[in-house]
Every structure is written in structure tokens, then in C-alpha cells.
């Protein structure tokens, strides 16, 4: 007899979702997490007195709505804000506004407006196809069985329905880079870079890196997953994590926080449980890890416990990120040139032109600080004033082109980068520096330490074609099972990948139940 049917490592959104579905099916599930709050990357933290920010994930933009329904997350307390428009800030104050399929401002002409509508239509059709794949177990191409054949048939039909032109476009662009695709479609520099931003944020790439079209399409699946745009979670991301935990407990799952798993226990030919930092051992029929693959296999299982070919796959798995978070506590509402106060609640982005974005990749690659960054800004306190003391505000920004570990070290690097970022912001919000009462820079290695994501990569491993679909995280450990008997994956390192989506957790639970592994 084992203590539990399944132990889930990590109470992040995917771990909790997987636990909920398994518990709903009557399984006895224990979720373990090292942190003292559920939610993983969906977390909120007080970074300065009275100032609470979503300290890891900032926006909810691609969460699968069927999960909201299945787990009744609204009853569990999930409240979303209103969908945001994206405003790409220009230094002259004539900003580019991207609202659904329409764009305006910044002197964008009618040709680009029409091209944008066409582009969105194309992206939508591709993303729809991907969503079909995302909602099911990734089909293997060689050892076909009927489930996989059905998925492939659906995919084939979807491809056919795209039509000749679209299909050709998809085949042509899916492996290339967003830079070329942008230049093909548009002439407006700010428009190109505003779109390219979504292709590179959260990755270790620049706009000319191959796979950036894929990472862009990945984000575009949000629309088909039922999410009506980029939104903020009221109460901060931590509220989202808590609602998932409430739902999981309602389904019957047990959640044990402050309990770091230090090792996955393996005897003979299968995994039998986990060891906690307290030394306690807990046994289960299955261990399902929502930790990233590098953490799961390298740190918790250990290379000596797997066959060498698998160890090689783990070692070669790419999991770096050039994305950081900037948190500012502000004594009052900042003013951005050319933005009305009402617009400050929208999603504000700052991007250099695409060539600048590509140039910024170089210092990041070579462990130096860049003097150009992209910003994806939220001032959450406008829609959710409770997150800061009365009259005060917080600004959080996802900042790209930050090295994992600069050669000068983060002790010297952080103050330097912080003042660099603030001076970049000053160009769009003059006087913002004077409003700052506290600041915090969370770099990729901080995310690794605080949230356990190897390399600080919020996808739990670079989302590129060679690490996607039936190859995610790597051949031999796909379809949520791994090459090690009794060990499953349910995190963003499994198909379909990262972003607050919930599908890896849901798909993993379904697969485990379908296989009768429990």
C-alpha cells in the first residue's frame, strides 16, 4: 500500500489543475510545494510596504476557459479585470494602439491597417489549428495508435481546411523568424516591433532567432482557448493561485505547503515516492512533476538513476530566459507623454525597432548588460487599488534582454541595470523617477531561486519546434509519461508548454486516467 495514489510536485497552476482533475476522478492526491503559498508563478508578493505585485506572471491571456468551467474557478474566487488594449509607446507621444484587429495612431497608414487585419486573420487560423493540438495529447508520429491517429487526422483535416495559400504560408513561416515575417507584412516600424515583442518575451531569443514565429503563434492560441484578451487578475496573480488551490481542495486533493521535495525516490525499475526536506518519505503509485524538466530529472531524480541517452537529452534541453521583472512603488500616478489617465490602465509596451531588439540580444548572449530593452508594463493599482496604499501606485514591467548571469555579477549589475531601465522609462514617462519610493529587479536567476524554474524560463524550457509537441520536453519522455516508470510530467515542460494556460496539467491528468496508470 502506498500513502497516496499520486504525489504532485509543485502547487503551481498546472500542478493544482492536474491534482483537481485526478481528485475529481476519485484519486487520492497529494500536492507538495516548497513555497508557503499555492500558485507557483501565479503569485503575489509585498515587495515594498503596502505594495503588492504579481511577482512572476503578470497577465492572464491564454488560460483555457474549459478549466475555469470544469473546476468552477469563479466560485473559488477567481475575478478577472477588463481585457486590455495594447498601447505601444512612442517617444513623441503619438502612440500606436492595437485593439483587437484594428490599429491606430503613430501615423500608421491604411495599407498597414489592412495588412494587420489580414495578418491577424492568418494568425488566428494557424492558432486555431494549434489549439486543436494543444487540447489533446501530442500525437507520436511513428508508433501510431488510434488516439494519435485521430489527433493527426483532425490536424490533417484542419490543414486541408486552411486552403492552399494559407497552408503554404504556414509551412513557409512556422520554422523561420518573426523579423522576416514582420517585414513581409508591414512597413510601420513600431507596429513590427510591437508584434515581435510577443514572439521574444519569456524566451532566450531575439526577433531574428528561428522559432520566434512558433513562440508568437503559441501566445496567439489564447484567443482560441476562450480567453478574451490580456487581463489582470483582481487581487493579483496570487488570488488566481489561491482560487486554484481552493478548487483543488474542493475536488478532494490534499495540498501541503512549505514542503520542498528534495528527491524523487526510485527503486528497481520504477519511481515509488518522494523525499521531503524534512527527511520524510512519502510513497505513491505515481509521482507527477509540475517542476521543469531540468529540475525534475537532473536535480530530483539524478542522472545516475536514468539511462545515459535520457541524461543526454536532459543535459541538452534548453531552458534559459532573458526576461526579468521590474517592480516600482510609486508615490503617485505617473504621467506618460501622450497618454490620458484612463489609458494608463491598459497594457503599455515599449520596444525599440526590430533591429534594436536584435542588437539588444548580443550583450545578453555574451553575459553583459544591454542598453536597450523591451517593456511590457502594467499599472495594476488603477484597476485594483487595494494592491497599494491609498493614493499610491505600483508599476510592474516584464523586461526582456536581461542576461541570466552577467559577467560583472548581479550585485554590481542590478543597480546598474535598474538605473538603466528607469532612464529608459523616463523617455516615455518624464518624472517617473521622482515618484519611485521603492524598486525591485527580479532577474532570471532570481526566478530560478524563488520559483524553481531552471534558467528562469517561464515556459520551463525554450518553446521551440525541436522542444515542442511530440518532442516536448524531449523524445522518449513525451505524452506526459517519461522514460522512467511511475514518473509523469504535468508542468509547462510538457506539451503544450508555458504561459498560464493550464493545459499541461489538464492533459496530463486525462492521459494518466486514460492509461489507467492509477
Amino acid at each position: 500500500m502506498t500513502d497516496y495514489d499520486a504525489i504532485i510536485i509543485g502547487a503551481g497552476h498546472n500542478g493544482l489543475i492536474c491534482a483537481s482533475y485526478l481528485a475529481k476522478a476519485g484519486k487520492n492526491v497529494l500536492v507538495l510545494d516548497a513555497r508557503n503559498e499555492p500558485g507557483g508563478c501565479a503569485s503575489t508578493r509585498e515587495f515594498a510596504p503596502g505594495h503588492h505585485v504579481s511577482d512572476c506572471a503578470q497577465w492572464l491571456s491564454q488560460f483555457d476557459q474549459s478549466i475555469v468551467k470544469d473546476l468552477d474557478l469563479k466560485a473559488a474566487g477567481l475575478k478577472l479585470g477588463t481585457p486590455k488594449t495594447t498601447i505601444s509607446l512612442q517617444s513623441d507621444g503619438d502612440h500606436l494602439v492595437l485593439d483587437g484587429d484594428t490599429i491606430s495612431g503613430a501615423g500608421v497608414d491604411s495599407a498597414d491597417q489592412a495588412a494587420y487585419r489580414d495578418f491577424k486573420k492568418m494568425v488566428r487560423s494557424f492558432a486555431k489549428l494549434m489549439t486543436t493540438l494543444y487540447r489533446s495529447r501530442p500525437p507520436k508520429l511513428v508508433e501510431q495508435n488510434w488516439t494519435d491517429r485521430l489527433t493527426l487526422m483532425k490536424l490533417g483535416l484542419g490543414l486541408k481546411l486552411l486552403g492552399r495559400e494559407r497552408l503554404r504560408d504556414l509551412m513557409r513561416i512556422v520554422m523561420i523568424n518573426i523579423y522576416d515575417v514582420m517585414n513581409e507584412h508591414f512597413s510601420h516600424a513600431a507596429l513590427k516591433s510591437a508584434i515581435a515583442l510577443d514572439a521574444v518575451t519569456g524566451t532566450n531569443m531575439g526577433p531574428r532567432s528561428p522559432n520566434t514565429v512558433y513562440s508568437y503563434l503559441h501566445r496567439a492560441t489564447g484567443e482560441h482557448l476562450g480567453q478574451s484578451g490580456t487581463t489582470q487578475v483582481l487581487g493579483g496573480m496570487g488570488a488566481f493561485g489561491r482560487s486554484l488551490a481552493t478548487a483543488a481542495e474542493k475536488c478532494g486533493a490534499n495540498i501541503q505547503l512549505d514542503s520542498a521535495v528534495t528527491a524523487i525516490v526510485k527503486t528497481e525499475d520504477r519511481v515509488t515516492g518522494v523525499t521531503l526536506d524534512s527527511g520524510e518519505q512519502i510513497s505513491a503509485k505515481l509521482v507527477i512533476s509540475s517542476a521543469d524538466p531540468a529540475t525534475t530529472f537532473r536535480r530530483l531524480l539524478g542522472y545516475h538513476q536514468m539511462e545515459a541517452g535520457m541524461a543526454k537529452r536532459v543535459e541538452c534541453y534548453r531552458s534559459r530566459s532573458g526576461t526579468a521583472k521590474l517592480h516600482l512603488a510609486l508615490s503617485g500616478l505617473p504621467s506618460f507623454t501622450g497618454l490620458s489617465e484612463g489609458q494608463l490602465t491598459e497594457r503599455l509596451v515599449i520596444t525599440p525597432p526590430m533591429d534594436g531588439m536584435e542588437t539588444a540580444l548580443n550583450p545578453m548572449k555574451y553575459r553583459e548588460l544591454s542598453d536597450l530593452h523591451t517593456f511590457d508594463i502594467s499599472i495594476p493599482t488603477l484597476e485594483d487599488p487595494g494592491l497599494a496604499p491609498q493614493g499610491q501606485h505600483s508599476l510592474t514591467a516584464i523586461v526582456h534582454y536581461v542576461p541570466y548571469e552577467p559577467d560583472i555579477g548581479w550585485e554590481a549589475g542590478k543597480p546598474q541595470l535598474l538605473s538603466q531601465l528607469i532612464s529608459e522609462l523616463e523617455g516615455y514617462a518624464p518624472g517617473i523617477g521622482a515618484l519611485i519610493t521603492a524598486s525591485e529587479l527580479v532577474v532570471p536567476s532570481d526566478f530560478e531561486a524563488s520559483h524553481g524554474m531552471t534558467g528562469g524560463n517561464w515556459h520551463h524550457g525554450e518553446l521551440s519546434i525541436d522542444q515542442a509537441l511530440m518532442m516536448r520536453p524531449f523524445p522518449g519522455s513525451t505524452q506526459y509519461a517519461t522514460a522512467v516508470e511511475g514518473l509523469y510530467l504535468c508542468g509547462a515542460g510538457a506539451h503544450p508548454g508555458g504561459g498560464l494556460q493550464g493545459l499541461p496539467g489538464r492533459n496530463a491528468a486525462r492521459e494518466i486516467l486514460k492509461r489507467g496508470a492509477l
Binding site: V142, E268, Q305, E307, A308, G309, A311, A483
Partner: protein, 394 residues
């Protein structure tokens, strides 16, 4: 266009000056990138030296890797399919290693030179695979291929010749044992191992000793009819003795590009080298599954009627083609026509009567021969001398 070949120039072994001097036929081959003699003076006579007196084969091109460090034994145990702890210090073990799919990458010999000190002697270059295998283990891998020269000294008089060379009490060395001597002030290691199925040794020295070793061996061995042997003679001896050859009888898994062309240990008749009682090793889970579900192929040694070697033959069961021959030879000592074949399951069990479809040509005239053959259970050549200790006097 240049008419210069793009192939890498072949290397020569530390014995080359001596080998070249004795290679009367000037018949050279490329063995793993080295210039090696196919035959020195007469293939049959070279073969009979191995069986009746002493044959000397230069095996320096074999790849040698030294594995040392606190985790050396654990590393070896994960690498190979047999239980490495059963190989004692100063002992040698024949072993195979597999990839994660349980497909054979290579075979070779494991020399245990100390508690945590092993030498892998492999047919294939294995630098890359051995390096990946170090993940998670505190070991150092050193490629010793060029710093260790080797001669196989094989045959009934081999012990006597090597004793004359200064290998005192060599006749007490058990099969698969290792003994250490010195030769002209440098270390000389002898292992009672070989590829011929008879009494025989392999002698390992630093390259600086190579030429002197060759000279003294042939000087001291003259009265014992010592002869150099080339690849062709060795090929005859190893087929007769039941040894498999990588790249001939199986494709090293890493070199295979086409699906289904690799083979598992069970499919090569090497299941006895797979030990499921020991913990994790590469290929374990796939091999456990194969054991449960059954293999695709069976390795069969065939005793073929007639005297036409069944080279490259199809093997038939009735009208159906059930396999192909990988190695074949007329074996002079056993006086048998032997073939190794890959037979599709469920055929090829010991005693199974099959037919070899042999094609041979005399003066441009091709003849097709349907030779009955029978699956035999042990190699056709079995010399008691191979296993006797003390080594029998000739």
C-alpha cells in the same frame, strides 16, 4: 576537380615497420582507419599457425578507454549490460553495451586494473558515448588508444613463447586473467584473452616498446613456428570459434540510420551478457520489455551442407525467406561449413532445418545452390586448451 581522395590518410600502428617488413604479399586493408595487413604470406598457413603453433596479430587499432575515479564501478555498471562487480581486479570480462532502446552499440572487453580502474577495449570509437555517460558520475575517461599498443599472441605454443620472453609462470594465468611484467624497463601487461577460441594471450605495451617486443617475440618464437597473421586468417578463426564482429554480424546502433536495422543482445544470442539482477543499466527498460514481448530476430549458427561458404546468402524455410547470412566460412580445423545468420522469429531455434541459398561463380559462370543447413547450439571449434590452467604444454 582534384583527384586527391578526401578520405583521411590511414594511420600506421606502432608495429608498422615490422609488420611491413613481414608482409610478403603487400596486401593491405583499412581497419578502423589504420593500415593493416589482410594477409602476410598465405591466409591458410597463417590460420594454421593460430591453430597449431603461434599466430601474432597486431590489434593496436582497437580503441582503448581508461575509466577511473570514485564512481568508476558504478559508471561501468550503468554502461554495460553485465554485472561489472563480478569482474575482479586483474580480470577481464567480455561485455556489450546498449543504447536506451536496448540496441547493441558495440562489444568489447573490460579490463579491471584496480578497484576503481577499468579499461574498455572496444571495436568502435566511443569517445562521445562514454563522455555522455559521465553525467552524474565522478569519473575520468581517457582515450588510451594511441598510448597502448597490443599484440594478440594466439595458439598452442603461445604460452611457451611468451614465457621465454620473460613472462614467468604465465602458464598459471587463468582464462580472462591479467598478469603484469616488465619489458626493457617498461610495463608489459598480458591478458589471457583472444578472438581465436584457443589458448592465447593479448600483450599490451607502451608504443615505445612495440618494435623491440615484435623483434624479440619472433626471435624467441622461431623454433615454435611463430607467424604473423592478417585480418583474413583471424576472420576464419573467429567464425570457427563463434565470435561476433561489429559492423559484420551487427550494426553498431549509433551508426544505423534506417529504422529496424539495429539488434538487441537477445537478437544476437548475447542474452547471457544481460543481467537484470543488477540495477539500472543503459537499455534495461527496453530489454525488459523485449523479454516480455519477444524479439524480432534470432542469431543462429548454421552448419551448412557442402563446402561452398554461404556468404551473403538468403536463408529459407520452405519457400519463405526467413533470414540472411552475416558471416560464413569453410572452417579448416573443424572441417565444417559454418554460417552466422539473422533469422526472423520464430524460426532458427537449435535443430531447425533451413536452406541456404548460395550463389557462387566459377569462371564467370554462376551457380545457385540450395544447401540444407541446421542450427547448431555451440561454436564448431572448441579447444580444451582455451580453458585449461595451467596452460597445457604443447
Amino acid at each position: 576537380m582534384s583527384d586527391v581522395s578526401r578520405d583521411t590518410m590511414l594511420l600506421t600502428t606502432p608495429f608498422h615497420s615490422r609488420v611491413e617488413a613481414m608482409c610478403d604479399l603487400n596486401d593491405w586493408g583499412n581497419w578502423m582507419g589504420y593500415t593493416t595487413p589482410n594477409a602476410y604470406f598465405d591466409v591458410e598457413l597463417e590460420y594454421f599457425a593460430v591453430r597449431s603453433t603461434t599466430g601474432v596479430f597486431d590489434l593496436s587499432p582497437m580503441n582503448k578507454y581508461r575509466v577511473t575515479g570514485p564512481d568508476a564501478q558504478r559508471y561501468m555498471d550503468r554502461l554495460i549490460t553485465r554485472d561489472v562487480s563480478k569482474i575482479g581486479v586483474d580480470r577481464v570480462g567480455y561485455a556489450i553495451w546498449c543504447d536506451d532502446n536496448g540496441q547493441v552499440m558495440d562489444d568489447g572487453t573490460i579490463f579491471r586494473l584496480g578497484e576503481q580502474d577499468y579499461r574498455i577495449c572496444s571495436y568502435q570509437r566511443a569517445d562521445d558515448w562514454l563522455a555522455w555517460n559521465t553525467l552524474g558520475f565522478d569519473v575520468t575517461i581517457e582515450n588510451e588508444s594511441e598510448s597502448v599498443a597490443g599484440l594478440a599472441v594466439q595458439g598452442p605454443t603461445s604460452c611457451t613463447v611468451l614465457t621465454l620472453l620473460g613472462c614467468t609462470d604465465l602458464n598459471q594465468l587463468k582464462p580472462f586473467g591479467i598478469a603484469h611484467y616488465s619489458f626493457e624497463g617498461r610495463p608489459l601487461m598480458v591478458s589471457r584473452t583472444g578472438f581465436t577460441g584457443d589458448l592465447g594471450y593479448e600483450v599490451w605495451v607502451p608504443p615505445e616498446s612495440a618494435e623491440a617486443l615484435w623483434d624479440q617475440l619472433f626471435e624467441l618464437g622461431r623454433d615454435y613456428l611463430i607467424k604473423p597473421i592478417g585480418s583474413y586468417a583471424l576472420e576464419l578463426a573467429r567464425i570457427e570459434a563463434g565470435f561476433l564482429q561489429a559492423n559484420v554480424d551487427f550494426m553498431p546502433a549509433e551508426e544505423v540510420v534506417r529504422v529496424g536495422r539495429t539488434r538487441s543482445p537477445f537478437e544476437l544470442g548475447l542474452g547471457w551478457l544481460v543481467d537484470f539482477k543488477k540495477p539500472l543499466f543503459n537499455g534495461r527498460s527496453a530489454l525488459l520489455k523485449e523479454q516480455e514481448k519477444g524479439s524480432r530476430y534470432r542469431f543462429a549458427m548454421l552448419d551448412v551442407e557442402g563446402n561452398k561458404p554461404a556468404e551473403h546468402s538468403f536463408i529459407l524455410k520452405g519457400d519463405k525467406q526467413v533470414g540472411t547470412v552475416t558471416s560464413a566460412a569453410w572452417c579448416p580445423t573443424a572441417k565444417a561449413n559454418i554460417a552466422y545468420a539473422q533469422i526472423e522469429m520464430p524460426h532458427g531455434a537449435v535443430g531447425d532445418e533451413l536452406v541456404a541459398e548460395i550463389y557462387y561463380q566459377r569462371e564467370l559462370h554462376w551457380t545457385r545452390l540450395l544447401a540444407p543447413c541446421r542450427v547448431i547450439d555451440t561454436p564448431i571449434f572448441k579447444s580444451p586448451k582455451r580453458w585449461q590452467t595451467p596452460a597445457p604444454p604443447h
